[in-house]
């Protein structure tokens, strides 16, 4: 029978199925971090059991870490205690930890792929919704809650109901200045922030095939913003080239064996999806969000919807969100002043993102009134940026290159956007208070963010590519 990519992986991981209930799904890799794991470890300790397969778990500290002076103890006491608890728990349970100071430390969804821990055909979970990122390699990867973290620690399994299947096809060529972040913001604007709830989404089509692994990760990363259980892209030569030689990628004979299997991981021609969308790459503009969920996006040259364009039922939440953002219905977004520029997060903090920004800002200066933070996704990204001289370009432009972590993506660590200020951000969520209480977020691509850093306002990068 013809199968989708999702079904091929799912079927190989079902340990057993409960009558009329969920399946027991085997989990190959488990990533953990300091925020969503302590209560799970406490649960195991209370039951008097150890982590079942510690060698299939990797830990890092990312959410709560400062991005300046990482060699010093963490100032904020609760953050420090949480990071210390992770260290202690990992030591007690024999889990490899890439904590602060380790050359592999970084945002959990950046380090998994870069270390070759993330591989096609796997099931991967983490107590973090953006685990969907790893689906870019053709794996089933999804975020879980802390109770589920405990289940995976205890048994390497989860009880899961099979989601419905959706395929989103993007065909054709992107216009200059339009990048993968714009693709995903565009899809979100089309299908809404709940458009894929209950579905596993496969992204396909020639525009997706043409993307680098970094670009694919950006798209799968934000599939959770559509409500999707997971996002995935079939592995191909781009995937294999990216993986070969990475630290935990298979080597030699093992590599050849795995490669032969990975090449079978495509949706069969006749496979059936419960829902399918088709979009044209040429229709996509550089995108920006104006509201307080990631589905509230428009082309940068467009206007915030006018009240009469909004469904009667959605007016209250639309108006609430514009009030929060300090914007008027029908207003243009281009020319809007920004106070902060944040380039980072598991959506856009990989080396390719930093290169993209550097090539745009080289020889230019940031606008006087903006504060620009560039936060690499990992120690390895940071190291590579320095080796390539990207740090010098940022320094000359007046950008601050900080140390790896989640940073201003979530208003939990020291990096917060002050109340009322506007931040153009390459992260994934523009929720109220996400970057700090009353902070106002515009989500955009690294290029659009770089342009705003230079001009101090929202602009259209396409004008710089003609």
């Amino acid at each position: 029978m013809a199968k989708t990519l999702f079904e091929k992986i799912w079927d190989r991981h079902v340990v057993k199925t409960i009558e009329g209930g969920p399946a027991v799904l085997y989990i190959d890799k488990h990533l953990i971090h300091e925020v969503t794991s302590p209560q799970a470890f406490a649960g195991l300790n209370k039951r008097g059991i150890k982590v079942f397969r510690p060698q299939q778990v990797v830990a890092t500290a990312d959410h709560n870490v400062p991005t300046l002076n990482q060699h010093l103890p963490i100032k904020e006491e609760l953050s420090r205690l949480q990071v210390e608890a992770l260290k202690k728990n990992c030591a007690e349970h024999g889990i490899e930890l890439y904590g602060l100071g380790h050359p592999f430390q970084g945002i959990v969804h950046v380090i998994g792929p870069e270390l070759g821990f993330t591989q096609p055909g796997m099931t991967i979970v983490c107590g973090d919704s953006h685990t969907s990122t790893h689906g870019a390699f053709g794996s089933i990867a999804f975020g879980i809650g802390t109770s589920e973290v405990e289940m995976v620690m205890a048994t390497q399994c989860l009880l899961q109901s099979k989601p419905k299947l959706m395929r989103i096809n993007i065909d054709g060529e992107l216009k200059a200045g339009v990048v993968s972040k714009d693709i995903v913001l565009y899809i979100l604007a089309q299908i809404s922030a709940s458009g894929a709830t209950g579905y596993a989404v496969e992204f396909a089509g020639s525009a997706i095939r043409a993307l680098s692994m970094e670009g694919r990760m950006t798209i799968c990363n934000m599939s959770i913003e559509m409500g999707a259980r997971c996002g995935m892209i079939a592995p191909d030569q781009t995937t294999f080239d990216y993986m070969e030689g990475r630290k935990f990628a298979p080597q030699g004979e093992e590599w050849n064996k795995k490669l032969a299997y990975w090449k079978t991981l495509v949706s069969d021609e006749a496979a059936v999806f419960d829902k399918e969308y088709h979009f044209k790459a040429a229709d996509i503009e550089p995108m920006i969000t104006y509201g307080t969920n990631p589905g509230m996006g428009i082309g940068v040259s467009g206007h915030v919807p006018a009240l009469n364009e909004i469904d009667e039922k959605e007016k209250p939440s639309f108006e609430k969100s514009l009030e929060y953002m300090g914007l008027q219905p029908g207003a243009a977004i281009k020319g809007k002043k920004v106070d902060y520029v944040f380039i980072g997060s598991c959506t856009n903090s990989r080396i390719e993102d930093l290169r993209m920004v550097a090539s745009f800002v080289k020889g230019k200066q940031k606008a006087g009134h903006v504060e620009v933070w560039v936060v690499p996704g990992s120690k390895q990204v940071e190291k590579q940026a320095i080796e390539e001289g990207i740090d010098k370009i940022f320094e000359a432009a007046g950008f601050q290159l900080r140390q790896p972590g989640c940073s201003a993506c979530l208003g939990m660590n020291e990096d917060k956007i002050p109340a009322g200020k506007y931040c153009i951000s390459t992260s994934n969520r523009n929720f109220e208070g996400r970057q700090g209480p009353n902070a106002r977020t515009f989500l955009a691509s690294p290029l659009t963010a770089a342009l705003a850093a230079i001009t101090g306002e929202v602009g259209d990068v396409r004008e710089h590519y003609n």
Partner: protein
């Protein structure tokens, strides 16, 4: 924390806002604890207080309105989207709720709720409106949530609707079972699976 759910009769607290994400339910800066307790006091923190100040409750927010009480939270469409933080379910449960009603829940939130004996009840858009209207007409309106028969009803009007729940999860909630107890009981099957797939 009550570990099983059967029939609940209660008044309800309405939060009639769509797309409530878990960052609103519990903002990230409150996720630094290493235990599961005490999150209830920060439930909807930034919607509840002016400038993060407990001395300045925002008048319009339902959780600050003494008329609204009970252990049923009624929310609008797409509740619990965004971050996977289970702290959102802990905060709601810790604040004294056993049931959340909406016309649409985000996936991860729904699982987290079920794992914490917080029952997510999905109703039709129309029925959800009827509930909001009933509360608006009389904040003392009672609702019955009956898990065995999978029905929710409005006492004032007698209207009721069926809701879906996975039969396995229903058994867990009725009996206070954890998934983890079940998974631990099949460790031998898991080991066999590993051996076959090595």
């Amino acid at each position: 924390m009550s570990k099983s759910i059967n029939r609940i009769t209660s008044t309800a607290v309405p939060v009639n806002i769509e797309n409530v994400d878990t960052d609103q339910i519990i903002p990230a800066r409150f996720l630094k604890a290493t235990s599961r307790d005490g999150f209830g006091k920060n439930l909807f923190r930034d919607w509840r207080y002016e400038n993060d100040d407990e001395a300045k409750p925002k008048a319009g927010f339902p959780l600050n309105d003494a008329r609204f009480k009970g252990n049923i939270l009624v929310a609008a469409k797409n509740f619990g989207c965004g971050s996977s933080r289970e702290h959102a379910a802990w905060a709601i449960k810790d604040a004294g709720f056993d049931v959340v009603v909406s016309s649409f829940f985000a996936d991860i939130f729904k699982n987290n709720a079920l794992n914490n004996f917080l029952l997510p009840v999905t109703v039709s858009d129309a029925f959800l409106q009827e509930i909001f209207v009933a509360i608006e007409n009389d904040p003392n309106s009672e609702f019955q949530v009956d898990l065995p028969s999978q029905t929710i009803s409005i006492a004032a009007t007698g209207a009721s609707e069926q809701f879906d729940i996975n039969p396995y999860k229903k058994t867990c909630l009725l009996n206070g079972y954890d998934d983890i107890d079940f998974l631990l009981s099949i460790t031998e099957d898991i080991k066999k699976f590993e051996a076959q797939n090595a």
